[in-house]
C-alpha cells in the first residue's frame, strides 16, 4: 500500500509524540554497553603500541600471568590467521585480514595505540597493572603521517604486499597507495578550452573523530560448549556477530549478539574493536569479561574519518554555466586500505549538471588509526572543496552564489559524471526554500559575512527485518533488528500504528537481539527509517490482513466483506451484515479460536533509497585580532522525503550541522614528530559546546520518495556535508580571505590575516 498522502489524512505519522524509550533515558534507567554486568564478571584491558610504526619482535606475558587475579592474556598468536581477501558475511565485502589485524596487531604495529595484547583480571586495577607487566619488544620503523608524504616515492611502506589497484600496468613495487579510481564524462580539456573563467584551488581537510560521547564497551560470555553471548554498544548486532565470528573462526550460530543502548555512533560503531578480544578472553578465562575503551583509546584507536588533499579546477561561461570540472582527491585511509574514496569521487559534483568532468581519487594508507565511516562517509570532504570553489567562481563572475547553484543544479533527468541519471530528487526545491527563507535576505552588519553551501548523499536501503505481533490483550509489539541511535524505535512504532490505525501508546517497539529477529544490515547509511521502516510497514499490513481474516471468521462472513478502518474491523457495506466493529483487542481475545497468534515478520532487501540534498546558510562574525569565528545564525534546509517524527528529523539536521561546524572550526588530529597523537582527549580535541553555537534552524522540504510507503528518504547524513564550506564561504564574505585548509582555527585565521597584511 501507499501512504504518500497529505498530512491531514495521517493520524500519527508526521506528529511529534514522546519517544517510547524516552523516560528511561531521562531517568538514567537506559542500559548502555558499559552498564551491563554478568555474574562472575571480570575486566579486560588492552595493551597498545607506543610507536607509530614498529615490528613486534617478541611478547612476553609471563610476568602478567603470574600476577594474582590475572585470568587470561591474548595476543595475535591466539587469533586465526586470515587470508588477504575480501569476504562476505552478510554485511557486504570486508577484508577480514585487515579487520583482524586492526583488532590485534600481528607482526607490526601500524599506529600509535594499535592493540598488541589484552588481559582479563578480577579487577580493573589488577588488569591495568598486568598491562604494564607484559613485555613487548619492538623494532621501531620509520613512519609516515601525512597523505602526500605517504604517496611520495621512498616513503616508509606499511604493507609490503600493497600494490596499487586501478592502474595499468600493475606496479612493480609496493606502495602506500591502495587504489586509484576515476570517473570521466565528456571531454574535460575541450570543456576548459570553452570556459571564460576558471577557478583553481588546493584544499585540505583534517581527520576528525565521530566523537560519540559513549566510548566503545562490551561484555562477553562463553560457555564450555562454545556457545557465546556478546552485549555491546554497536550500530549493528548482526555486524558484531558476523565480524567477531569471522575474526575468531567461530560458527555464527554459536554467537548471540545483544544490542545495548548506544551512546552515539555516527558511523564509528559500524566495526568491531573490543568484541573479538572480549570473547577470546572470556573463553580463555571461563569468566564473563567486560571491556571499555578510555576516551584516549577512542581517539587513538577507533574512527576517525579521512583527512584529505583535494585539487579542484572549475571552468564556466561568463553567464555562470559550468562547462568543465576536474577534481583530484587523496584520502587518508589510516593504517589499512579503505577510505571512502569512491563516494568522495561521486558526491561532490553529483549536485550539478556538468557536461565535462574528470575525477581521480587515491586511497592512501599511513601510520594513523584505520578510518571508520563517519556520517555520509567521503562526501563532506569533497564538498568542502567543491562548494568553496563554486563560491570563488561566484565571486569571480559576480553572481549570487545561490543563483550559480540554481543555474547548474541537478534535476530529474540530469546525468551525473558517474553515470547515474537522477530521478525523483528535490535539489531545486531545496534551493527554492533557501532563496525564499528570510535568513537569505537578512541584513548583515560590518565585519559579518554570509556563506551558503550545498550537499548530497545517496542514502541506502539494504537488508532489514521487522516484526509486528498482536499481544493477547490487543497491545502490539514491534521488533526490529536495528539499534536505535536517534529515535528509530519511535518512527517504527509510528509507522506500525498508522497502518494498524491504533494509538501510538498501544504499540511498544523494541530492538531484538540476533536470535530474536531476522538478519538486518547495520544502522547506517541513513537506511533504517527507509528500509527497516518498509519491513515494519509491510509486517503491519500483513497483520491487518490477518485481523480482517479473523474478524471474518468471528462474523462468519467472507473476508472480502470486511474492511479495516480506524483500528477496527467493519463490515464492508450493507450486504456484509450488521455487526458492531471489532477492535484489535476484541479480535486478539479470540485469536486462539481463529487460528492462533496474530503476527508477522517481514525480511526484505530494500532498494531505491531516494537521494538527499541540503543547502545551508551560515552567518559569521570574525574577530581578526584573535582569529575567532563566531557563528551568528545558521539555517539548514533539506529534502527529507517525508518526516515520520519531524522533531527527530530536525534533530538529525541540527546535529549534523553542529558536527560540521566543529569540523570547520576546531576539530583535528595533531601528531608530534614521532607520530604520536597529541590531543587524544576532549580538552584538546574540542567538539562544539552549547556556548559555541546559536539555535540551528532546520527547514524540512518534503519531496516524497515514491519507493517508500510513506515517502521516506534517509536524513541523517546529508546535514554534515555542507557546513565546512558554508562556514568557509561565510568567513570569506566577512574577511575576503579564502580559507582552503581546515580547521579554520584561530591560529590559521590569524596567519591568513597576517599574510594578507604583509602582502599589502
Amino acid at each position: 500500500m501507499n501512504y504518500i498522502v497529505p498530512q491531514s489524512e495521517l493520524k500519527i505519522v508526521g506528529t511529534r509524540p514522546v519517544r517510547p524509550d524516552g523516560v528511561d533515558k531521562v531517568t538514567g534507567r537506559a542500559t548502555f554497553g558499559a552498564d551491563m554486568t554478568l555474574p562472575g564478571m571480570i575486566w579486560g584491558k588492552v595493551k597498545r603500541s607506543p610507536h607509530a610504526h614498529a615490528r613486534i619482535v617478541s611478547i612476553d606475558a609471563s610476568k602478567a600471568l603470574a600476577l594474582p587475579g590475572v585470568k587470561a592474556v591474548v595476543t595475535a598468536a591466539d587469533f586465526p590467521e586470515i587470508a588477504n581477501e575480501e569476504a562476505f558475511v552478510g554485511e557486504g565485502p570486508m577484508n577480514f585480514r585487515d579487520l583482524s589485524r586492526n583488532c590485534m596487531a600481528r607482526d607490526k604495529a601500524l599506529y600509535e595505540g594499535h592493540a598488541v595484547a589484552a588481559v582479563a583480571a578480577t579487577s580493573q586495577a589488577i588488569a591495568d597493572e598486568a598491562i604494564e607487566l607484559i613485555d613487548v619488544r619492538y623494532e621501531v620503523l620509520p613512519h609516515v603521517i601525512d597523505v602526500e608524504a605517504a604517496m611520495a616515492p621512498g616513503a616508509p611502506v606499511l604493507h609490503e604486499d600493497m600494490f596499487t589497484t586501478g592502474v595499468e600496468p600493475k606496479p612493480a613495487k609496493p606502495s602506500n597507495i591502495a587504489k586509484r579510481v576515476s570517473f570521466t564524462k565528456g571531454d574535460v580539456a575541450a570543456g576548459f578550452a570553452e570556459a571564460d573563467v576558471i577557478v583553481e584551488g588546493r584544499y585540505t581537510t583534517q581527520p576528525v573523530h565521530q566523537a560519540y560521547i559513549e566510548p566503545h564497551a562490551c561484555v562477553a560470555a562463553v560457555s564450555a560448549d562454545g556457545q557465546a553471548q556478546i552485549y555491546s554498544s554497536t550500530q549493528g548486532q548482526f555486524m558484531v556477530r558476523a565480524y567477531s565470528a569471522k575474526v575468531l573462526g567461530w560458527e555464527i550460530a554459536n554467537l548471540r549478539s545483544y544490542p545495548m543502548e548506544i551512546g552515539g555512533g555516527f558511523g564509528g560503531k559500524t566495526v568491531v574493536y573490543l568484541e573479538p578480544l572480549a570473547l577470546l578472553l572470556a573463553q580463555k578465562s571461563g569468566r564473563p569479561v567486560k571491556m571499555m575503551m578510555t576516551r584516549e583509546d577512542v581517539f587513538r584507536a577507533s574512527g576517525p574519518t579521512s583527512g584529505a588533499v583535494i585539487e579542484v579546477k572549475i571552468g564556466a561561461k561568463r553567464d555562470g554555466a559550468i562547462v568543465a570540472a576536474r577534481e583530484v582527491l587523496k584520502y587518508q585511509a589510516g593504517a589499512f586500505a579503505g577510505s571512502p574514496i569512491g563516494p568522495g569521487c561521486m558526491c561532490g559534483l553529483a549536485l550539478y549538471d556538468l557536461p565535462n568532468v574528470e575525477v581521480i581519487g587515491y586511497d592512501v594508507v599511513s601510520n594513523r588509526p584505520k578510518v571508520a565511516a563517519y556520517r555520509a562517509p567521503g562526501a563532506p570532504i569533497t564538498s568542502f572543496a567543491i562548494e568553496s570553489a563554486l563560491d570563488e567562481l561566484a565571486c569571480k563572475l559576480n553572481i549570487d552564489p545561490l543563483a550559480l547553484r540554481e543555474m547548474n543544479g541537478a534535476r530529474d533527468g540530469t546525468k551525473t559524471h558517474y553515470g547515474v541519471t537522477h530521478k525523483d530528487i528535490g535539489f531545486l526545491s531545496v534551493l527554492e526554500a533557501a532563496r525564499s527563507h528570510p535568513h537569505y535576505k537578512a541584513p548583515l552588519q560590518p565585519g559579518q559575512g554570509r556563506g551558503i553551501a550545498c550537499g548530497f548523499w545517496f542514502n541506502i536501503g539494504g537488508e532489514s527485518s521487522g516484526a509486528v505481533h498482536v499481544n493477547e490483550d490487543g497491545s502490539v509489539s514491534v521488533v526490529s533488528g536495528n539499534p536505535d541511535i536517534g529515535g528509530s524505535r519511535a518512527s517504527m512504532a509510528m509507522m506500525a500504528a498508522e497502518v494498524l490505525g491504533v494509538p501510538m501508546d498501544q504499540v511498544r517497539p523494541i530492538v531484538g537481539d540476533t536470535a530474536s529477529i531476522g538478519f538486518s544490515f547495520l544502522t547506517g547509511g541513513s537506511r533504517v527509517t527507509f528500509a527497516t521502516g518498509m519491513a515494519v510497514t509491510q509486517a503491519a499490513e500483513k497483520v491487518v490482513d490477518q485481523l480482517k481474516t479473523r474478524a471474518a471468521q468471528i462474523w462468519d462472513i467472507p473476508v472480502d466483506a470486511v474492511e479495516w478502518k480506524d483500528g477496527k474491523a467493519w463490515p464492508a457495506g450493507l450486504n456484509a451484515g450488521a455487526f458492531e466493529p471489532l477492535s484489535v483487542a476484541q479480535i486478539a481475545l479470540k485469536a486462539g479460536r481463529t487460528g492462533g497468534p496474530i503476527g508477522s515478520e517481514v525480511s526484505l532487501n530494500a532498494q531505491g533509497a531516494g537521494a538527499g540534498f541540503g543547502c545551508h546558510i551560515c552567518d559569521v562574525e570574525v574577530d581578526k585580532e584573535t582569529g575567532h569565528v563566531k557563528i551568528l545564525r545558521y539555517t539548514a534546509i533539506q529534502d527529507v522525503g517525508k518526516a515520520i517524527h519531524p522533531a527527530y528529523v530536525e534533530g538529525q539536521i541540527q546535529g549534523g550541522a553542529a558536527q560540521g561546524i566543529g569540523w570547520a572550526l576546531n576539530e583535528e588530529y595533531i601528531y608530534d614528530k614521532n607520530g604520536k597523537l597529541e590531543n587524544a582527549g576532549f580538552l584538546d580535541y574540542r567538539v562544539p559546546v552549547a556556548s559555541d553555537l546559536p539555535l540551528i534552524e532546520a527547514v524540512m522540504v518534503e519531496v516524497p520518495n515514491p519507493r517508500h510507503p510513506f515517502g521516506v528518504r534517509g536524513v541523517g547524513e546529508v546535514p554534515i556535508v555542507p557546513p565546512m564550506a558554508a562556514v568557509a564561504n561565510a568567513v570569506r564574505s566577512a574577511t575576503g580571505l579564502r580559507m582552503e585548509h581546515l580547521p579554520i582555527s584561530p591560529p590559521k585565521l590569524r596567519a591568513a590575516v597576517d599574510a594578507e597584511a604583509k602582502a599589502g
Binding site: A34, E214, E650, A658, L695
Partner: protein, 162 residues
C-alpha cells in the same frame, strides 16, 4: 591495602560503601552501588556525562574521589524524579525531543536542575554557558536549550515559552 569505609547520603538515602583510595565517586556509583545512570564519557572532567550534585554544587563525579563523599549529600540522575513523577526538566527534555542517543542526557538533566536551582530565570546565553561543560554530539544543543528555557518558564509558573 585495606578499603575505606564511607558513610554518605545518596538521593536522600543513607548509604555505606567500601572503596579503594584511588576509586572515583563515579566508579563507586557505577560499579559498587549499581547506579549506572551517571555515565563515563571521558574520566577527565571534560564531557559532563557523570554530572552529579554534591552538597548543592554541580560536580563531575569522575573528578571526585569516593572517599570525598564521606558525610556529604549526593544527587544523581536517579534521584531527580519524584517516584513516578518526572521532574519538569525531564518532562521538557522529552517533549522537546532534546535527546537522541540519550548517553549525555543524565548529565544534562542533573546540570539543568543545578542551573535552575541556582538561577530560576536564566537567559539563553546563561544557559548555554552553564551547560558548556556538558558535551552532546547528537543534537547540536538546539532542542536541549529550548527544553531548558521551557522548563525554567514552567517552574517559574509562566506560560510555555517556546
Amino acid at each position: 591495602m585495606s578499603k575505606h569505609h564511607v558513610t554518605t547520603t545518596i538521593n536522600g538515602e543513607a548509604v555505606e560503601f567500601l572503596c579503594e583510595t584511588q576509586e572515583t565517586l563515579l566508579d563507586v556509583l557505577r560499579n559498587t552501588l549499581n547506579l549506572t545512570g551517571s555515565k563515563e564519557g571521558c574520566a577527565s572532567g571534560d564531557c559532563g556525562a557523570c554530572t552529579v550534585i554534591m552538597d548543592g554544587k554541580m560536580v563531575c563525579s569522575c573528578l571526585v574521589l569516593g572517599v570525598e563523599a564521606e558525610g556529604s549529600s549526593v544527587t544523581t540522575v536517579e534521584g531527580i524524579a519524584d517516584g513516578e513523577t518526572l521532574h519538569p526538566v525531564q518532562r521538557k527534555f522529552l517533549e522537546h525531543a532534546a535527546l537522541q542517543c540519550g548517553f549525555c542526557t543524565p548529565g544534562f538533566i542533573v546540570a539543568t536542575k543545578a542551573l535552575l536551582d541556582a538561577n530560576p530565570n536564566p537567559t539563553e546565553e546563561e544557559a548555554r554557558y552553564w551547560l558548556a561543560g556538558n558535551l552532546c554530539r547528537c543534537t547540536g544543543y538546539d532542542k536541549i536549550i529550548r527544553a531548558v528555557m521551557d522548563a525554567a518558564a514552567e517552574m517559574r509558573g509562566e506560560a510555555r515559552a517556546a
